[in-house]
Symmetry: D2
């Protein structure tokens, strides 16, 4: 079997597990107050060139999104997001379960256009009934998006500009940030994210970690009583150091970057190979998710031999499928996939 | 420094970390559908002598309590618990945050008396205004309790009996179950728990795991759409196998039992030593938490040398403090503590 | 000033106030258990030709929508509604505040198309990730819609059919039902609604009542512990009879019908007059809300003389405005408005 | 039948209904922006000698309590209340349903002792685990209490003092305030309440109104976006004037005071009569709720002839029952009850 279904279906990186082993016999303080969380935070601040950043560690993406949205919004506000945003589509209603509305914006290959944000805010402000309408109180974007696309630095700057104008915190979901940072030609780096985003998270689960995400508040805007509030959400880990240590290792000797770069190398090889063979891409993705349009013959060929992701059925009968590479994808597997196709 | 502050402030067991290392290069399906979760569940079912049990894995205790209570109650019900129960005192309002009331019962050294449950239910039933009163819809107990005490098998049977009579699911919080099962003289085993409890969890975080709890539904009562609902709570791990594998190891060659037994051995040694030196116990605890009454001189002596838990100030000026042993406590540290006192 | 801004900005009907006066000195049981609620429910059952209907009385529309959606959905479900539905646009996030997602469907002049419902359900069912996607668990429609349009009996039947196929309760928001029932040419009557809807409410606030809505469960589907659950929502009135009595009067001698018919008569007169004067309608509404496209000159002319509702700004610079008639609109005012324009 | 079961089981006052009639044909702006709400607020400010008070009108007591508690607390806080407080006992979990914990204090004949508040706060502050414990964020008291008892001015001052010290807003539930203000010997007036309470409500439902409560914010502390937030709670009335007008009438010519005084007159007459006949009082209540201890013979005698409230069963077999008088109780009925006993 060839595995291209997703990027969270492999184990974690060996170096992380070795670090766990090295902790044998250690006494570690609880709830994230330990030395590994401190060290990881320090390394992340350095990588972000943002000395005032406050870093916290959580277990998973939906949990992180739910917490950020709940804690940053006023009770009468909702979060603006692309119609295709993960918080709107694939989080089982976790945002609404915690009381918040997702106010949808058009998605442009997964991305949000500043003009749409402006229009939304102007509409709300101009509406005589706005007291009856959920006020958009922050902007959620993902980078890479759910379609593998990336913002440019200029696009992030433009979003940050419109957000500042309307006082919307800009939150960037970086579940696949490792792949995004390593994409060829991108000018979005961690310092760029730290400059434009008010909050973002660096995804660990999909980039070598066993589990865990690093949440970065860049503007001295850590919500009050953070520890208590994440405990209300069931998200406080007694052994918080278990996430801190993983990020401490990921941010040692550029491991996080290397893992992202590997995912991109594999994706680029796959992309070139698919293009050479004449496959039609559904979208031009520069990251580790590659979407092609498959006919039924191809689907049959893949069946039982290649694991991939089903994306959507097109009106003309074609099927959009996704091949995802990861930090752990073997080059031999990419070769085998291309050979098989 | 001597470490007796709590039982979740050491790393995880080496064997678990070695198992993580062995997963290098593996492909593992997501969300708990993997082979390690399956294997762990099978071993737990065997250990519980409960072949029909359904086992699920979550990250931490408060999260597990919040989920069990939310999913087992009808929307108009609350959970009955001892005034001193963890869900009532130390979960930052996580139960209420998810919409549920904790209906309190008297605590008897941390334990719930069946007569109090009966009285609560009869009061509710007899009340002409009961439609305006939260109906107790399940019973929460902890074993060991927050005071280190244990139920006997007969006591559990009596609670199960009254719960059955009033159709209250009986839920046992086993955050420290490892220590409870290993306590000297206890007749409560995993099969006993599986017989009397409708749901219980086997605590991993405080018994050698890096993190994680194993939730056991014993009566074919797994709540509908469990996966979706824990995702709403932000509790679904992409790499669910990371908890399953830990329990798979803990339930191999009796590791879980051995770790619990070690904690008890250390606690018993400490208890005897403290008694021999004439220290006054606040409560007679058969498990890994030992509570003594300290005067100011003792507190001063401990300061900076021994880490312990502050419990409460007594009216007469004494202070209840807690020494906790764990699966990782070194015998030399117990000796050193006793020598120092 | 001429008043055409909305249909809830006049007092209540004199006959209702006289009924209140007649209760002087009466003893009335609490929480809706009184004789007036019983009598009103009986009359509504008769008007609906639905002897098994269960009728309950609430204070207002958003409260009613929040309660119906919360009580009819399973915890993992959301409510499907047109993008333009009131629950999605103008309820300040009350649906999400109580934990539920609104899953949006295209709006066709405010109406929902059965084909869109089918497509939504098929998409959800076919999606391999559906456990991560909110399951649509009921269908919300409004009749009349937010654009004044009406379903035909055949359209309701088709919606009910698709809802039955996918086991979605069909809920009809009848905030303006009085006007809808009286519209010319409609074949949707109360018995038709009772046949096709699983739940609907008969709006009182906008049809002569001081406040209050009558909620009708038509399929022996009154949610369990209804009284307790609406109290949790803060919606239980001690003097529940205060709503029951109003509906008792509204359903005496056809008052509800007459008030709806008056609103329609006034709307039709206004509509003809506007058409005769060459005004452009934004939508062809058969009910008490009439939408025209105004230029700036018209807006200026209206300013300070006529109260109307602002609806939206069109791309070409025109403005959609709404004139609403009501049960209390004076014919002289319609004449005056037409004369003034 | 003689009616002494409660004080919300009679109609409303004739003068209120006449005012409703007088509104016939009026145009009234929506959501509480009307002239009647404005006039009622002005009269209440005057009666409270609190020109800066902000007054809002809601439908019922549980709704008001839920809203005040939700809006005044930070998300990590809970409300402190007597164990016997209405929010803890008889609101069907409405407080918890909106996410808030009720932190209980001892009840002293229904009242809260400042020393208990201080002890609670000091305990919380001193606890090393306080980040895991719900922080008490406001104090709820009722006046009269659920046992008919009253605070003195000095007691209120002492509570306000401890609340100020610990920055707890003091909230007074005045569901039965009409009776409380009229009690013999009380030195608590509306200006006294306005001085010491940060928020309180003046109960209308139990003092002549058809429905409705007047919520008074005395310290320029109206929560932000009040209208939007009460709409999220389903509590915003389109015809908000329907409550405002009632309070406008209740605060005209001292009607509210007179109705309260009548309830007290009837209660005092009943109390003296019962005392003369040798009945044992369970508690010495100065307000409209009178609690006596009944034996089985008395219960049998009352059955079918007198409506009363069941309160609780005493250990010795006696039964506490409540006779409630109201603004509408007829003196002849008190005479008849006394004659019958």
């Amino acid at each position: 079997m060839l595995y291209f279904a997703s990027d969270y279906m492999e184990s974690g990186h060996e170096r992380i597990f070795r670090r766990f082993l090295e902790t044998e016999g250690e006494h570690l303080t609880a709830y994230g107050s330990d030395k590994y969380c401190a060290s990881a935070a320090e390394k992340i601040r350095a990588a972000c060139a943002c000395p005032e950043a406050e870093v916290r560690f959580l277990s998973g993406g939906t949990q992180t999104n739910q917490i950020v949205i709940d804690l940053l919004l006023a009770p009468w506000q909702g979060v603006a997001a692309a119609q295709t945003g993960h918080v709107n589509t694939h989080e089982a209603g976790a945002i609404e379960w915690s009381g918040r509305k997702v106010v949808t914006l058009p998605g442009h290959e997964g991305k949000v256009d500043p003009a749409d944000v402006r229009a939304l805010m102007e509409l709300w402000r101009a509406d005589g009934s706005r007291e009856h309408i959920v006020e958009p109180g922050m902007l959620y974007i993902s980078h890479p998006t759910e379609y593998g696309t990336l913002y440019t630095r200029a696009e992030l700057a433009a979003l940050a500009e419109v957000c500042r104008e309307y006082r919307l915190p800009l939150y960037v979901d970086g579940a696949r940030l490792g792949s995004g940072l390593a994409a060829r030609g991108t000018d979005v780096t961690l310092p760029v994210l730290a400059e434009y985003a008010d909050v973002f998270y660096i995804g660990g689960t999909k980039c070598g970690a066993l589990f865990g995400e690093a949440l970065v508040f860049t503007k001295k805007n850590l919500p009050e009583r953070f520890l208590t509030r994440i405990k209300q959400h069931g998200a406080l880990l007694a052994k918080g150091w278990s996430v801190g240590l993983q990020f401490d290792e990921l941010f040692t000797d550029g491991l996080y970057e290397k893992l992202g770069a590997h995912a991109i190398d594999m994706a680029e090889k796959l992309k070139s190979g698919l293009a050479a063979k004449g496959y039609a891409f559904y979208i031009d993705s520069p990251t580790n998710q590659q979407f092609i349009v498959a006919d039924d013959a191809l689907l049959q060929k893949l069946d039982g031999e290649v694991l991939y992701g089903f994306w959507e059925k097109l009106p003309d009968g074609g099927t959009v499928i996704r091949f995802a590479t990861s930090w752990a994808t073997k080059e031999a597997d990419v070769d085998a996939l291309l050979a098989y196709l």
